[in-house]
Subunit: 314 residues, 3 copies
């Protein structure tokens, strides 16, 4: 693994999960591993959990994190090869990524999708430009189509809560939202859950299928109630349409997860990457009850990031 | 003391003042005390002095400070229990505070009042939500009604300048301003000055009384000239009306502190928490003259914060 | 050297260049030199390279950098002596600079020119207010009229690439741009190139002469093609008019540097401080070709800053 951008293999995932759990028990067990090294955390979009957890992970390894808010502190980047730069963009990604690569030992990048230019989003164009031009290891802090640090934290959380169950039934269910939301978390969760050998069912209203690239190996069941039957873990997430790209095609609020959805999944745990729109995506009773793993998932973000940074440091 | 939000006792105040002065002499005398620990500095409102001094204080103790600008880098927080989150807020305080609490050993929070919702401000609602849901020690970097780190720095400054005077006469005087300003600094100063045993007089134009909760034990004297007679320390501060909540009821500029106000208080020192509107609140002649302690107060912010963080570290 | 604001002497420049190259080979060879010391990086204007490279330089010396975005996180500063502060400014530079000086061992300040008030810009008014009132060593991160850390990095880059040439021909050429750009980089480059003993020619369209204060000792040649003949290094930069202050008087795009400009300077290297407007200031073929030193200049920003901070630490 040079960059950390997606699921690579079960073997690597297992090793990252194991290391994450070790750091969770002893966050500073390798407090000098990254001494003198710098990680540049580049945010083209806002962030709370990712911003904090990545810095903490780096600090736990003795690294110096430097945060750059490109949208606010930096400037608009030109992405087009050959562009005549006589408009709003002030620096070409080639030049900016090259410089950042010469400044930092590792770059960690957040770059959301446009949700308007499907082709560019699918190619993860902006994120890949950083990989192409920076010349250093790049960690995804959520790209147009993936959020692998979230998924690694999710796998750690499932690992901690799976108990004696050999192959847990994991359900990824669409939930309502008032905004058009990226596919990254849902894509990555599917990719990692399948890759880690879980029994994954995906459920969503008509028109909300995900990019099939990420869902090979999952059952698709459009009846939410049926999908939830016997679930051990229910991952709740909104996403906008993939076919009718970036659109909201329904907001049917019967899809909001409430206690009554768990009639046939009495022991199911509920997961969400946060931030969550309460009483739109999931009801308060679930989030404030014993099913919820959302705080643990967020906490595990630190150790997932620490495990990945440590792996890249070698 | 689990949290640092207000005056608790003269004994604790004296001990914090003493420790602050020790750190002022030897800032790095306990440079490894907080090693490996993280303090999250959460700003829901802008800050210069507080932002810098809190980070420096933490660094002097070996801690890693991480600053989060929730207003700009994060997102709008939902504060209402049971809210159906289909509007502008993107995350509930419950969830955000819970996550931050799991990330940091100590949280330091700045949350200004609305100046429109009196009840919520008086209850220090936003600030207390962080205490309620984060589960870790919380330091106030100025809440809706108090600014205790400022007041501790102010008490340190009085302590350094009081000389042989046993019970100094301290006057808190209202001053004009062009904007509606919170009550936090004035409230806290009164609370701490009284608690520390100073002889406090508060003076302000009609209509500018503070919340009586903070002024028990102070003399109230509406004639500014009379109030200033014989003062050893004069603390200048604007605040908006408390009864006619958040309103500007007069801007009478005769209340601006100038040299002629000190006819009967020849040796009085002048204090202000900064930022100060020059020639509106206080004249240049005072601020640039020998009466002024404002720079020393600002400098003492570092050691006040260091003393408090150290106390919480235990 | 107490402050670092401009070229002082060839001897000092040589020593700073030598130290920069030493740090480039061994960035952490003095990793404890600044331990426990704090540098405040104050940005009144946006920054990417400067922000990152200054922090890295400080960290390499064991210092703690604290970044303050005065424009966004802080507030508008009042600059006028005696101002009655009843308008938009919330704090006087006197008070803010005094506080920052009491908080930090070194201040590093970025303060761009107005490009409207020529007199104030020439006096480097804002920057000099920080020097006047902070009482600590101040490093320029680009002021109204100079960008000395950039120039030092440029001199390091020339030094690395000059080979056996005794007195390289260095050409500073104006290039087109769509915005009115400050003179700081061009001024400083001229000042340092002349001071370091290079053979400097400056070329620009009519109406774009620089402040003569910075160009004493340089040849001025308005025919760009003639100026470029036999050049060893070509420094490309836009600036707005100095006489018709801050205006764009031509945008003649024949001044954009392309390969055909190098007919009579076959081996010339091309320099630019970045960010560069591609295909407006310089063509892609140059920037992506072997003539370009722009990435190396940016990389050298770290070691230039480290050399200067180290010199100030003493």
């Amino acid at each position: 693994m040079k960059h950390f951008t997606q699921f690579e293999s079960k073997k690597l995932a297992d090793s990252l999960i194991e290391k994450a759990l070790a750091y969770k028990s002893h966050p500073r067990m390798e407090a000098a591993k990254g001494l003198g090294k710098k990680i540049g955390c580049i945010f083209l979009n806002p962030s709370l959990r990712t911003r904090a957890s990545t810095q903490i992970a780096a600090l736990n390894l003795g690294m110096d994190p430097i945060v750059m808010n490109m949208d606010k502190e930096g400037w608009a980047l030109e992405m087009k090869e050959g562009a005549i730069m006589n408009k709003g963009t002030v620096e070409h990604i080639k030049d900016a990524a090259g410089v950042l690569g010469s400044y930092f030992d590792i770059l960690a990048i957040r770059a959301f999708p446009s949700l308007t230019n499907k082709q560019e989003d699918i190619e993860d164009f902006i994120f890949n430009q950083f990989i192409k031009y920076s010349g250093v290891p790049v960690i995804s802090l959520e790209s147009a189509i993936r959020h692998p640090l979230q998924s690694l934290a999710d796998m750690v959380t499932i690992h901690e809560n799976v108990g004696q169950i050999k192959k847990p039934k994991v359900v990824l269910t669409w939930a309502p939202h008032i905004k058009a939301i990226p596919h990254a978390v849902a894509n990555s969760f599917a990719e990692w859950a399948i890759g880690c050998g879980h029994d994954l069912t995906i459920t969503h209203p008509e028109g909300y299928n995900l990019d099939p690239m990420f869902t090979q190996g999952a059952k698709i069941e459009l009846d939410q109630q049926k999908a939830l039957e016997g679930a051990d873990f229910v991952y709740v997430k909104n996403w906008s349409a993939y076919n009718d790209y970036g659109k909201i095609v329904t907001t049917d609020n019967s899809w909001m997860l409430t206690e009554k959805h768990f009639k046939h999944a009495k022991k199911a745990k509920v997961m969400h990457c946060l931030p969550v729109r309460r009483n739109i995506e999931i009801s308060d009773e679930i989030l404030d009850g014993t099913r919820s793993l959302v705080q643990e998932q967020a906490n595990n973000r630190i150790y997932a990031a620490q495990s990945v940074i440590s792996h890249i440091l070698g």
